[in-house]
């Protein structure tokens, strides 16, 4: 009997060691932060103003870092994550488009994080349609993308 118990115990231990090292297979999530969500789809800002970025990030294990990138959408292209159609201006050529690309860290060990930042819009940036891209990566390397359509007014 003792041998059977021992066999079961050994098998259980080995099986536990056998799990594919508990690999994280879930992507992190970018969630609206209630009424404070900013920027929201189709939100309008004026050049020279500030975007009070605010979103909620979550992950099943541990968040890693995030990146915000803003590029013009003067030619009205699409992204796989944009689901909303906003009123768009006519296509135009960029002259001095706003280009923004920054990486941000998240405190280690976070499963939940409220990201809040102030992003200043250059006063001389071309007004028009832009894509505001949020890329959230968890510690395992899974990345979630949220593409928000915004408009800059002169």
């Amino acid at each position: 009997m003792r041998h059977i118990n021992f066999t079961l115990l050994l098998a259980a231990c080995l099986m536990a060691g056998c799990q594919p090292d508990g690999r994280d297979m879930e992507q992190p999530a970018i969630i609206d932060y209630g009424n404070n969500t900013c920027p929201a789809d189709c939100e309008q800002f004026h050049t020279g103003d500030t975007i009070h970025f605010c979103y909620q990030f979550t992950d099943n294990e541990e968040l890693g870092n995030y990146n915000i990138e803003i590029h013009n959408n003067f030619d009205h292209h699409t992204h796989s994550t944009s689901s909303v159609e906003c009123d768009q201006e006519a296509d135009k050529e960029p002259v001095n488009p706003w280009i923004f690309n920054h990486d941000y860290s998240i405190p280690e060990g976070s499963k939940d994080y409220t990201a809040q930042l102030d992003i200043a819009i250059p006063a001389d940036a071309d007004p028009g349609d832009y894509h505001f891209m949020v890329r959230l990566t968890d510690r395992a390397g899974w990345q979630q993308l949220r593409s928000v359509a915004i408009k800059l007014l002169p």
Binding site: H3, I4, F6, T7, L10, A11, L14, M15, G17, C18, P20, D21, Q27, N67, E69, H71, D75, H77, H79, S80, T81, E93, N101, D103, M133, R135, T137, A140, G141, W142, Q143, L145
Partner: protein, 138 residues
């Protein structure tokens, strides 16, 4: 006594089998997988000198992305080449990403047919390339 030896053998056999099965988990990560979703505006495979070219790709890299290299070279009539590398920032160290960049095509780029080579290298040194034709010109 015989039974005990028999049981011990069974345990040993089970242990070896399970451990052997476990080793399979340590196999190398799969090489990066690239799907070019947009080459040129609305996937037209066209670009204009002095303008930028949309380039979008879905990348999955089990071994985490270490570098992305974009090369656009003239197919015939010269060795003109546009090259851009990404080795830090939002695409690096991740398992999956949507690559989206507006690649500048210099105003002096000669018109003609070009080859696009989009190469992803993971942290284990594995490389995958995707290629496409691009026509540069008005």
């Amino acid at each position: 006594m015989k039974t005990n030896i028999f049981k011990t053998l069974i345990v040993a056999f089970a242990a070896i089998t399970i451990l052997a099965a476990c080793n399979k988990e340590e196999e190398k990560a799969a090489a990066p997988v690239i799907t070019l979703t947009e080459v040129g505006h609305e996937n037209s495979h066209r670009a204009t000198p002095g303008d930028d070219m949309h380039l979008e790709a879905d990348i999955v890299a089990e071994g985490l992305i270490n570098a992305i290299n974009v090369e656009l070279h003239l197919e015939e009539g010269g060795d003109y080449e546009i090259e851009k590398s990404y080795t830090e920032g939002k695409y690096i160290g991740v398992r999956n990403t949507e690559f989206h960049e507006h690649i500048d095509i210099p105003a002096d780029a000669p018109n003609g047919e070009y080859h696009l080579h989009f190469t992803v290298t993971d942290r284990e040194g594995q490389q995958t390339s995707a290629t496409a034709h691009v026509i540069v010109g008005e």
